[in-house]
């Protein structure tokens, strides 16, 4: 899609388009959605997200929403969290879910991959210390399993534990007696999800036309 498309539209769109790789139409759509969510304010706050109806039953809602307020997901990345986000931040976070271009070189694919995995990693790593600790991981698993009400918290815990053990086994290999596994670092995370085709999976179709009226 095109350069000619990016040239149309308001200048702030054009700038954003350059930064994120969206087309101006897509940014327009996102902007509309942004305004709709924020009730025509300039910034979005957490309660706006919480008000989205469909999101209500999403088990990892909290993580997702936090990801929007996480400065690490911005371009360029930063530390800490925000209380409210502007359109630019919104679009930038969304751009992590952009489908990859039609043809990619291997390096491009790798960078797309790393970028997407980084987002995912940040989402798990809630306390921003560079590792996903068992606590954090367990938290996610619990929430994932919480939807099927039959699985108790303990079961979820044990699954998280087992998964963590697996992680330790995969990423550390041999460990010295007095070592213990602190948590998943980003390098390990990359290694773990090596066979996971994230660049093919972590994509959302962003429409060019406005569908937001249909969907609340």
């Amino acid at each position: 899609m095109g350069i000619w498309q990016s040239l149309s539209g308001p200048p702030e769109y054009r700038q954003l388009a350059e930064k994120t790789g969206f087309t101006c139409e897509q940014i327009g759509v996102l902007h509309k959605r942004f305004k709709q969510l924020s009730h025509n304010e300039d910034t979005l706050r957490r309660e706006h997200f919480n008000a989205i109806h469909d999101l209500g039953c999403n088990p990892i809602r909290v993580q997702i929403i936090e990801a929007f307020f996480d400065r690490r997901n911005l371009i360029p990345p930063d530390e800490g969290r925000m209380e409210e986000i502007h359109l630019e931040d919104f679009v930038v976070v969304m751009s992590h879910f952009k489908p990859p271009p039609l043809s990619m070189t291997d390096e491009q694919r790798d960078s797309v991959r790393t970028e997407k995995l980084k987002f995912l990693f940040n989402m798990h790593d809630m306390d921003n210390d560079g590792t996903i600790t068992l606590e954090e991981y367990r938290h996610v698993v619990e929430e994932l399993l919480s939807r099927s009400a039959h699985i108790s918290k303990e079961a979820a815990d044990s699954i998280a534990d087992a998964a963590m053990l697996e992680v330790a086994a995969i990423s550390m290999g041999h460990m010295e007696p007095d070592e213990f596994y602190e948590g998943i670092t980003f390098e390990h995370f990359l290694k773990l999800l090596n066979s996971f085709e994230i660049e093919a999976k972590m994509n959302v179709r962003f429409l060019n036309m406005n569908a937001s009226t249909v969907c609340y």
């Binding site: 990892i60 399993l145 303990e154 995969i170 085709e197 959302v204 179709r205 969907c215």
Partner: protein
């Protein structure tokens, strides 16, 4: 004239002596009889005559009595044996796909038959093919369909299957007709409609052929599902097209007007979608049915075959698409029946399905080869044959590339150029085309034989040539291969995170996309469908992540057992625990021998180093003895349960009692008891010697240690529970549970079982607790039992004995010698149990207090 004719008089005894080679020769012999009635008749009557005269025959040879089933069975065994021969050499099958080899084998067989008979007596008839060989293959495909992948790509698949097939059929028909008009094929009596009919029958990519080839080249899953899904669905399409054109041909060109064409199109959709719908109805019916087969478990696996077949036949009866029907029957029922049926039945279904499908696939290919050797069949027309091949190849490529070009505008993840090449090259034609070609009516189509032989050539060309070159091509083009990754929990969890994340993003960005739809569907499915179609008891533990967890546990358990068998027996399990027990009980008394023992241990398990470092406080023996008495009863059951698991499994498996409705391993209590007592006695002996202070020999053998340990944990046993393998896990679980007034170890025992039974989610729940409590409250015998259970049952994933407090982790850490889980698991178990054993208090009747939750979450996190 033939082999058989000569052989027959010499009596049946000879026949049984014939080996494989003769068997193959024997069949053509049989054919004579089958085909040549004048020959066989006198023979048979001669027999009867003879038997009349001699009075009561002791043996009589009644070939005609068994002829047709006998022949069928022989053919099946020949086909299977041919597969056996072919698969014996992997160097060949690595290069040439099995399907191609089977066809070639068929050529040889056909040649033999032809040489013997001078006429081809065996052919693949459409009836046999469509009614007896095809359904199970398609059902298998549907049942094992990766649903998520399939439905995610359904749009693309449908486009290929419908538009692509129509395009193939139309373009081929019209081009051939054009060439005919242009005079490229000389004088043929084929009209445009006939050409279109021919095009429609040969247009479809064949699932059997595609599967056979693509299963051996592991291309990436998207590519695979596209080719495979297309081949499945377009079979339905092609049959419909064939019927429509067949009707057109019989109607005659003059009578076809717009109305008829519209009717044809409508019928196309009715047939295709009606068939799919019918299949789904049958599938759901089947799911409902399996909800209530609890009492007839032994035959519940049969339902899926019968109902699947019925859905096929019903669709055929209603002139809907039978193939689509049975595909969707399999697709729609797989989830529910897998959940509803007993795990063993599921396994049965899976294997039976594979046996049937693979078997009939083999037969189909062999017969495709055999059918070729028939002089009456072959009508050669160079122009027609070559042009057909050429057009098929070219139009397939054009179709794929054009459709993909359009699809890539809509697909989220576009198909790459290389994928498209493989897709076009993977357009293998197969037995369906041949079956349809044979079904052509000779009266309506004068050149039927030409069409049949051309179809055969196309099939051979695509299956053999393209099949053989597929693998090198895939390698050469560096097509993304399927990642042969092990099933890991973390990936599954991540997968799930993903799904939810994508939905959330779609929700936030306010778009309705795939994920949104899928999420809504999942909600609906969970809320209503699974409520109706699934047993309430299984609904709870069918969460996907949970299933993976369970699967991994099973795998670990299995590899654990394998490991045991590699070492000769599960001995080492006992050994390991023996060590712990021994140490804790005799630690003080025999402290001077400990080094030896430990050294010995270190030899046979790699774990010693870590153990050695942990000082184990010993506990007085008296205390044990007392408490042992106190709880003897309850505990008996536990330990016996274990015993059965460990000791008598092998033996018991050999003793099946015959029952048509139950397939249970013998659980004769007396017998088990007897064995048990015998063993115990010997154990006791060795224990006595130990207790007497008779110093064990310097190098303690495994067995001795085991014995002592065994004694400790098992002295008090009666038998109640069924053996682990003997089957009824439900039972086992409840036993274990009730047996132990003290919950922890009682629970942990049947842990693995639990998940399956569905009662089980509580299990993992308690597990971490066990761990935390471990150090204090678990009485030694329990510790022992638990330890045992941990050893046999599912490794630590299941045991989840890792509340990852830092100390625990640290303890586990050194054990992580390899990423192969088994080892580390076994090793990991030791320290934990040990820890648990540290201070054991006897009181069996006081259940351990619930663990302080903070305990679990403490530490480094």
């Amino acid at each position: 004239m033939t082999f058989f004719a000569q052989m027959e008089p010499r009596g049946p005894a000879r026949i049984w002596l014939l080996g494989l080679v003769l068997l193959i020769c024997f069949i053509p012999g049989v054919t004579v009889e089958n085909g040549d009635h004048e020959h066989s008749k006198p023979d048979a009557s001669g027999h009867e005559h003879a038997s009349n005269i001699t009075g009561i025959p002791i043996v009589s040879f009644k070939w005609h009595h068994v002829e047709s089933p006998y022949l069928i069975a022989l053919w099946i065994i020949v086909a299977f044996l041919s597969k056996l021969v072919i698969e014996a050499n992997h160097h060949v099958t690595n290069i040439i796909p099995e399907s191609a080899l089977l066809i070639c084998f068929g050529f040889i067989l056909g040649g033999i038959i032809w040489g013997a008979d001078k006429v081809q007596t065996f052919k693949l008839t459409p009836t046999v093919f469509f009614f007896y060989l095809l359904p199970q293959i398609i059902l298998d495909a549907g049942y094992f369909m990766p649903n998520k992948l399939f439905f995610t790509n359904l749009g693309t698949i449908l486009v290929y299957a419908i538009i692509g097939t129509c395009w193939n059929a139309a373009s081929l028909g019209v081009s051939l007709w054009g060439c005919h008009k242009g005079g490229a094929m000389g004088d043929l009596d084929i009209g445009l409609l006939q050409y279109l009919l021919f095009g429609s029958l040969i247009a479809a990519v064949d699932p059997v052929a595609v599967l056979a080839v693509f299963e051996q080249v592991h291309v990436n899953e998207v590519l695979f599902i596209l080719v495979f899904g297309e081949s499945l669905l377009n079979d339905g399409v092609t049959v419909v097209l064939f019927n429509v054109f067949d009707a057109f041909v019989s109607l005659g060109g003059a009578k076809i007007n717009a109305v008829e064409i519209i009717k044809g199109i409508i019928s196309f959709f009715v047939v295709a979608f009606g068939g799919s719908l019918l299949g789904m109805v049958f599938g759901l019916l089947l799911s409902l049915l399996t909800r209530c087969t609890k009492n007839i478990q032994i035959i519940e696996a049969g339902f899926i075959f019968v109902l699947g077949y019925l859905s096929y036949l019903t669709a055929e009866m209603l002139s809907l698409s039978a193939i689509l029907s049975i595909v969707f029957c399999g697709v729609s029922c797989q989830k529910y029946i897998n959940a509803n049926m007993d795990e063993r039945s599921v396994t049965t279904v899976r294997y039976a399905m594979k046996v049937l499908a693979n078997g009939s696939e083999t037969i189909i290919f062999v017969f495709l080869g055999i059918s070729a050797v028939d002089k009456t069949l072959w009508v050669w027309n160079t122009g027609f044959v070559l042009l057909t091949l050429f057009f098929i190849f070219v139009y397939r490529i054009i179709g794929v590339f054009f459709l993909t070009w359009i699809m890539n505008k809509f697909r989220l993840v576009p198909l790459e150029f290389i994928d498209q090449i493989i897709m076009s090259y993977g357009g293998l034609r197969g037995a369906v085309a041949y079956g349809l070609a044979v079904m052509l009516d000779e009266n309506k189509i004068k050149e039927k034989n030409l069409m049949v032989s051309t179809t055969l050539i196309v099939v051979y060309f695509t299956v053999i040539l393209q099949g053989v070159t597929m693998k090198p091509l895939v390698t050469w083009l560096k097509v993304k291969r399927a990642a042969v990754s092990e099933l890991t929990l973390i990936e599954k969890v991540q997968d799930k995170v993903f799904d939810h994340m994508l939905v959330a993003i779609e929700d936030i960005s306010g778009q309705i996309g795939h994920n949104y739809m899928r999420d809504k569907w999942n909600h609906f499915e969970e809320k209503y469908m699974s409520r109706i179609f699934m047993k309430p008891s299984v609904r709870k533990n069918r969460d996907h992540v949970f299933k993976v967890f369970h699967k991994l546990n099973l795998k670990d358990a299995m590899s654990y057992v394998d490991e045991g068998e590699r070492r000769g027996s599960l001995e080492f399990i006992r050994n390991e625990s023996a060590f712990v027990d021994f140490k804790k009980k005799y630690g003080d008394n025999f402290s001077e021998m400990m080094p030896d023992i430990m050294a010995d241990m270190a030899d046979d398990r790699g774990t010693m180093s870590s153990m050695g470092r942990d000082p184990v406080p010993s506990v007085s023996l008296e205390m044990h003895r007392q408490s042992i008495k106190g709880v003897r009863e309850a505990e008996d059951i536990n330990s016996h349960h274990l015993l059965q698991q460990h000791l008598y499994k092998g033996r018991k498996q050999h003793r099946h009692r015959y029952s048509r409705s139950h397939f249970d391993v013998n659980k004769d209590e007396n017998e088990v008891q007897e064995i048990f007592q015998r063993t115990m006695r010997s154990r006791l002996e060795s224990f006595k010697s130990a207790k007497m202070g008779v110093a064990p020999p310097k190098t303690i053998s495994k067995h001795q240690k085991k014995d002592q340990q065994q004694k400790m944990s098992f002295t008090k046993t009666t038998d109640k529970t069924k053996s682990y393998h003997s089957g009824d896990e439900d039972f086992e679980f409840s036993e274990g549970d009730s047996a132990s007034g003290y919950d922890t170890s009682g629970d942990s025992l049947p842990m693995r079982v639990n998940y399956r039974v569905g009662a089980g989610i509580e299990n993992p729940a308690f597990m971490p607790d066990v761990d935390t409590l471990g150090p204090m409250q678990i009485p030694p015998w329990l510790a022992a039992t638990e330890l045992h259970s941990s050893m046999v049952a599912p490794s630590q994933r299941a045991q989840v004995r890792l509340p990852w407090t830092p100390s625990n982790l640290r303890r586990l850490a050194p054990l992580r010698i390899s990423t192969r889980s088994t080892d580390s698991f076994m090793q990991a178990d030791v320290p934990v149990t040990q820890e648990r054993d540290e201070d054991e208090l006897p009181p069996p009747l006081t259940p351990p207090p619930p663990p302080p939750p903070s305990d679990r979450h403490g530490g480094h996190m």
